[in-house]
Symmetry: C2
Amino acid sequence: DDLDNGRPLQDQIEDPFMDDPVRDSRLIPLTQKPCNAETPGQELAESFLTPNEVFYVRNHMWVPVVEKTEAEDYTITVELPDGNVKIYSIKDLKTRFKQRTITAVLQCSGNRRSDMSRFAKKTNGLQWSVGAISCAKWEGVRLRDVLADAGLSLEEPGEDAQHVQFSGLEAYGASIPIAPVLDPMGDVLLAFKMNDAPLPRDHGFPVRVIVPGHVAARCVKWVNKIVVSDEESNTTWQRRDYKCFGPNEVKQDWDKYKAIQVMPITSAITRTRLKPLEKAHGESTSVSTTESSVVQIEGYAYSGGGREIQRVDISFDGGETWDQAQLVDDTKLERGSKAWCWKRWRYETGLSEVAKGSKDGSKATIVVKATDDAYNTQPETHKSIYNPRGNLATAWHR
Amino acid sequence: DDLDNGRPLQDQIEDPFMDDPVRDSRLIPLTQKPCNAETPGQELAESFLTPNEVFYVRNHMWVPVVEKTEAEDYTITVELPDGNVKIYSIKDLKTRFKQRTITAVLQCSGNRRSDMSRFAKKTNGLQWSVGAISCAKWEGVRLRDVLADAGLSLEEPGEDAQHVQFSGLEAYGASIPIAPVLDPMGDVLLAFKMNDAPLPRDHGFPVRVIVPGHVAARCVKWVNKIVVSDEESNTTWQRRDYKCFGPNEVKQDWDKYKAIQVMPITSAITRTRLKPLEKAHGESTSVSTTESSVVQIEGYAYSGGGREIQRVDISFDGGETWDQAQLVDDTKLERGSKAWCWKRWRYETGLSEVAKGSKDGSKATIVVKATDDAYNTQPETHKSIYNPRGNLATAWHR
Ligand SMILES: [Mo]
Ligand SMILES: [Mo]
């Protein structure tokens, strides 16, 4: 077992977290050991690509130490169903395969969990607000190219090739079905770079898996082993935690449902602010937040599986009447083969319009919901999708 | 233009529908010319595969006449972006390519439209109940194999290969994005057989396109031309009718949204009946529908895009409390690469239990909703997804 890559096993050190990196002070910490910290709504609203420093962090354990000088020699072991094993160094991957760039959102299955606790019932798990999601540009090689090189037939992989299991250096593990790997438009990557920089340590340096459109829990960081198998990964993170139950199912029969993989559609408000009236050209104006002010509401919408967001509906009366938010026309990037990104959206209206929707004149209920290109949409209430772990809290955002 | 295949053009005949086949009397007719007829709930409940005679019929025009004796020589013209054209007869397709069998649901985008009219507001279009959906076994060849033979690179099809357009013999046309064709697990077929018989005339004899997981409107019948293009099909059925708008968008700006392709998740009750108490073995019992009777509720749940149904939740108090229906374990068939089929479900409970959920003791509100393996679920109300054409009426079924 080479989990330690030649170093002392982390869990034999008194505090395995002692080598964890320092985090940006803008991140909102939920736990320190392991580090779980979300991106503030303000930062999500600011840019299409989330800067690496404020990209949300969701670690299950400590951050393994891989020295920069050793990174090129870091290896990934690939095992096929016939037992054949091949070992690739980062240098091999970088020199022998075509480099690909895609832009993709990563999202925790617990994003917006605190909404479910608030609107339905107490849930167990990290009480994320709307910031357990971020978007980055990823660069690396396609997993399908590597598996083909290792000897897997992409057209007829055989009955034993059902799942691809990933193990990380710190002992985390998870798997995905083989379908997105076989799909030439699936864009599953072994990524070395994030937003044009080497992967930060918190995000998997020197290499992590990116499975666009899937829950981030399958995008294993510090990956050092890949096994094509007829079985899912045997870890708790694969076989238990990341599943959803019916609103009445308090006793969780973990074998009953499939592991969360492709993410359902969701949306959220990230920033609401008063926007001063535009100055007429050359005119000097004193700005005040009167009833003639404009309210600017911003947010994101995202659907897994490469589905593109079609529409974001917004309501100021709790869902009685609707209008459409403006989808932000973000700069063209190397997007990849499908719609792996979020759509950010904006809506501007007069402060008096917002207040009108409020029944007692005091506080308006702003509600947003999104629709993707399979015309799937969000459930209206968290109550109808309640599950004890608070996974996939995707109801209309209020 | 060989639309007429050597026969007089159908629209030059006084009644182009005069050669339409006779339909099974169990089908529920909505219109005669063209024939639109739905499958009764009773028949949907009876079997996993819908028998050909009662498979719902959704025709946009008349049924073209292709004689059985001419079927093997019937041709499909395939055109690639580089202008290359190849012509395949049915005989070519049957002899030169590997035959594939998949089982897949077809569903009209207007299925359950009458629910939207009833619970939200008047909609335009055929007022289908729950029977504009059926499931069959399809046999034919993969479109990707044919396109590869015609000269298309499946790995690098090029920038001009964005859509695949289909034209039918009667003038109908539609297109799909190229993604499911490139995907080795996409299972897009040119099908000759339906439930082990040659395609019935109403369902496209001698050959139709099957795009599993997509709306049936793209599964062009009597297909005689296939064009790989950078553009969608130019027809009304592609560019206009089959789109959804926001609940407030009365004026339909057809360029604003994408054509319906992959279907969102839906479910429906197909049959509710009193089930007499089981006789104890050997005992002769007189059966009556007393309060000790068992109510059996049956239905289907289906999600497009190859998503598998995970769970069907059922409520007897309008959605306050829930239980899970039993998913019917249907006989194993050649399913294909993804979950293209529906799941049928059953729920049995005491008549008194059903009545308990009713607030005034008179009529219980039975509600069902389904969840797929991307954990997408159905919207609660038709009001929130209302669109003037009544497309994709997928709200919780009552
Ligand atoms: Mo997560
Ligand atoms: Mo349709």
